[in-house]
Amino acid sequence: MREDTPRTRRTRRSWRGWGGVAGMAAACALVVTAVAVPLRGAGAADGARSATPGGVLSAKYASTDDTCDHPEASGQRPSTVDGDAVRRIKEHGKLIVGVDQNSYLWGFRDPATGQITGFDIDLVRAIAKDILGDPEKVQFLTVPTDQRIPMIKAGKVDMVVRTMTINCSRLKDVAFSTAYFEAGQQLLVPLQGTPITGLDTSLNGRTVCTAKGSTGETKLKEDSHGAKVVLVPNQLDCLVRLQLNLVDAVFTDNALAAGQAAQDPSVHLIGQKVTTEPYGVAMNLRDTDLVARVNKVLEDYRSGGVNSPWMQAYRHWLAAKLPDVTGPPAPLYKN
């Protein structure tokens, strides 16, 4: 994020200097979570309402190789105004979305129906319904992890909805919606017979598996707590090795780990999340109108309290393995 460093400083300076304005924006963002009402034209009026203390200020920086303030703050306010990108999608008649077929609970192909389903996919359907009026008008492209950003930049997909963490280094290449989930790196271990209690000294002498190029790898490089690290191409390969007793623990997103635990009842998440990783819908930097549109869909998706579409999807897909989530993360905007 070389060229972003000055901008980052500027942002920080402006944050300090215009404390009032920034505070207002933050408060405004908090309100969205707390009240969960549609926030069309969110602004000073909403900001005036009292805000419940929430996640905004406690948000940590997910990226470990790059720092910036609040990467999860989306650049576009929600809007329904059709721009070039939205018009392009309407003309095409189908929303082209990069997804994963192997992340259980998030985006996976159900062999029984042959359809891709999951928490991410429910969100994709909601976006398609809003833009094209039909949740089925989606062309799913399976995108490997390392192809997410290239596919967006090349315009081969309209968006990527694939448990993609919003972080500072990625902001150079793609635009993100507001965060729609907050995950974090956590350890997955067998239910029985493991001395591992978390990312601590109990890992000493143990073998931990994580995906190559993942945040987990970076984190373990910083401090492996004496563990031997096994790197595999895909997080699911870690579950295979855990099942075969080739490794003692898996270190990955708790969101993905929950998917793994759901496929094998003899493993579970332990300890605490050691990072905070907001997931966002990634789009082309040029498609500002689409980012605004998705943010608007997300506002609708989050609204409705315990019966919001978000909570329904959460209960359907995630609650069993990722309990204790009370609601979606608060949206945050840059301006």
């Binding site: 082209i96 492209l141 094998d264």
Partner: protein
Amino acid sequence: MTQTPTGSGIPAAQGYGAPPAPRVPQPPARPPAVPPPPPPRRRAWSEGADRLRAAATTEPGRLRIIGAVLAVLVVAFGAVTAWQITDRASAASDVVNHSAPLSAKAAEIYRSLADADTTASGGFLIGGQQPKSVTDRYDNDLRTASKLIAEAAGNAQGSATTLEQISLLNQQLKGYTEEVARAGVNNRQGFPVGGAHLRYANELMRQDGGLLDTADKLYKAETARLGEDYGSAKALPWLAWSLGAIALGALLWAQRRSYRRTNRVFNQGMLAASAASVVVLLWAVVGHTVAASQLDTSYDHGAKSLQVLNSARIGVLQARGDENLTLVARGSGASYETNFQGGMSTLAGKDPKGVGGEMAQALALADDEAGRSPVNDAIKGVQAWRGRHTAARASDNEGNYADAVAQVIGGKNQQGEVVTATTGQCFDVVDASLRKAVDHEQQEFVQAANDGRGALTGLPAGAALLAVLAAAGAALGIGRRLSEYR
């Protein structure tokens, strides 16, 4: 020969080879240690030497010596020919009966394992309840592999490395089948980790030191043994040929000597001996040359073709496995697609519509229409396959996964239509054609190798018999001259 016992020359000459002879030079050093025994021995030896020396001074004596040397040379020639040719023939028969089948079996172990892996990935794509044909093929492959591995163990002849490879194979095969089973169980429950298990099973198959690598080492070891047997069978019997030349030379010299002394042009006995020796020598030279050239043919048209075809068959299986796994990986299969393209290039050249790689080699090595025709079928199959594969990849890349699967293994596409032009059909055609080609070349190989072995049939026994006759002839010829001195 009947006269020889009466004279003392020949027995004395035979005394040269008698056991005490080598000790002769030593007696001067010995006497102090064992004083009494040496004198009689020395006397016996020096008596023989004296007699020989004495004999050499007279013509009958010289004739006796010549007769003895000729007989010994001719008999030695016959014996060495019989021995060396027997050795070549047994190496040739090892090629046909032992090392070639072992090499073929090792290739079959490799093929069965690769086939099992390909079948498993195809079955996984079908998902749910697998058709009986798929489970049968998979079970069959594993049964064949296990059976042949056990046989290879029996034929290892105590080779430590071979035994180690065999135990590695057994051990890994167990882990492999367990992984495939786990993949199936998880897939049935709709868990994506099933695909990860299948990819891990594939890794066990293909990684360095994995099943295929070990099977390949076994194959190479068996093929090296085949090469050794070829080498032994084709090694020129120089000793036999040289002895033959020397024996003939000696016979000619003796006849010339006899002619000069008696003015008789022919000595019938020695003439017969020469004729018999010439026959043995010619037979040995021609027989071995024919055998070696037949073995060369069997190697060029059989063993070499078989090696290329076996390699091509395995390449086909792996390409099919890669094609399946690209879909099993559901979007993270770029490395499998790269493998597929690389494998196809090795198999049939860079140009998807051209003829190259191992297919072109196999075609060049096939020496008759019956050999070329299945290879040509396979080439056409590969070309069609590559075209359909490109179409299937395009479907997958456009997000039409169900279409891509249907284009690869058959079944219904997203529109509910049954896809008839699948890459699987092409694979089946190519696999079957190559199997046909392998069978044909195997037959050619066995035939040529058997012909080679056949060229040596009767030679050892014939050489021995003729040599005895030649020796008798030489002895008679000399005996006739000797009788003139009575």
